[in-house]
Subunit: 200 residues, 2 copies
């Protein structure tokens, strides 16, 4: 991990998506800026932080920049994701078609309800949460998505941290604490709606 | 809408959540900064843009700042949300407990599948998408959440725009275009995972 600012890191996936869809050999800082919703100067500064200088009147080389961003994000190889919680949300996330084409494989999904464990979601069979620690040690997955009710979120996060997970994406509508050594982000639907309320 | 920067607007819900949970009459810029993941100087600048100056050694008045942010975000009164798509994701979102306590009521959910229309999710009965335009005109909802497959997202967004929706939160794993007059945000799970990959 280099010392990029959080704001820059947050924009890299948006540049990457454009680069992956770009049919041309070069891309302008204006196009990249548009994809990330920032000014062209911002985009140029972000890419300069990765050691990339655009060529005046030409822009950036698409493939080179794409590979560099993938490397920086640590997704040159595919990442294996485990989902905890096989309710409506966990099931929806397991079926979410946007993950596979962006470098992530849902390797496993867990629940604790006897009525769910053993059921299938697409190619996956729902496993009992008790198997999670052994699976993590075997390298079945290394990133976790929390799709459990608010009341269980901290307990499940603690178990994931204890078992050595590298990073957690929290969908539960509650704040969860993890040690600094574990990366965590929260997808907070109400925050998104509040931001939208400002604009419309 | 005042002329706040996108970055500032994006942080307001995080300050607000802290203010809503804060048991004390005052809150420091350090506490606010911690909630939003920025520096205290950033937080002070954000609040100065709202016309708030902290008091040295005291901080900000919790209730006053909370009410000001709610007003700025346009959520002094509750907002009514319509969900389009009653599959796993739409159902999960309709049941998401984090919305109601942050000022949003899911007023209606739509689908087109005969097997779903008429079914119940909690207190809601799934309505046919054909009813959407009339509902929007009657003020049943004014913000929409897109929880449809990628292949239908643009078509449904076009129908919502045509019917006069104010803002759209897009969960479909695809980019959707709307006119500038409509506010839109995309929750992109793969972007979140890519950001996490950088850190862990």
């Amino acid at each position: 991990m280099s010392g990029l600012s959080t704001a820059t890191v947050t924009r890299l996936p948006r540049y990457l998506r454009l680069l992956e869809e770009m049919p041309r050999e070069t891309v302008s800082s204006e196009e990249l800026a548009g994809a990330a919703g920032v000014t062209a100067a911002n985009a140029r500064r972000d890419l300069a932080a990765l050691g990339f200088q655009g060529i005046r009147g030409v822009g950036y080389l698409t493939t080179e920049l794409r590979d560099r961003i993938r490397k920086e994000l640590g997704i040159e190889t595919r990442r294996r994701v485990g989902i905890v919680g096989a309710g409506n949300l966990g099931t929806a996330l397991a079926r979410y078609t946007g993950l596979s084409k962006r470098g992530f494989d849902v390797a496993v999904i867990y629940d604790v309800h006897p009525g769910r464990v053993g059921q299938r979601i697409g190619d996956l069979t729902i496993r009992h949460l008790d198997d999670m620690t052994a699976d993590l040690e075997k390298g079945v997955f290394d990133m976790a998505i929390l799709a459990v009710p608010a009341g269980s979120a901290q307990k499940v996060a603690d178990a994931l941290v204890e078992a050595g997970v590298a990073s957690i994406l929290n969908f539960a509508p509650t704040r969860v604490s993890v040690p600094k050594s574990v990366a965590m982000r929260q997808v907070d639907l109400s925050n998104e709606l509040q931001i939208l309320s400002y604009y419309g």
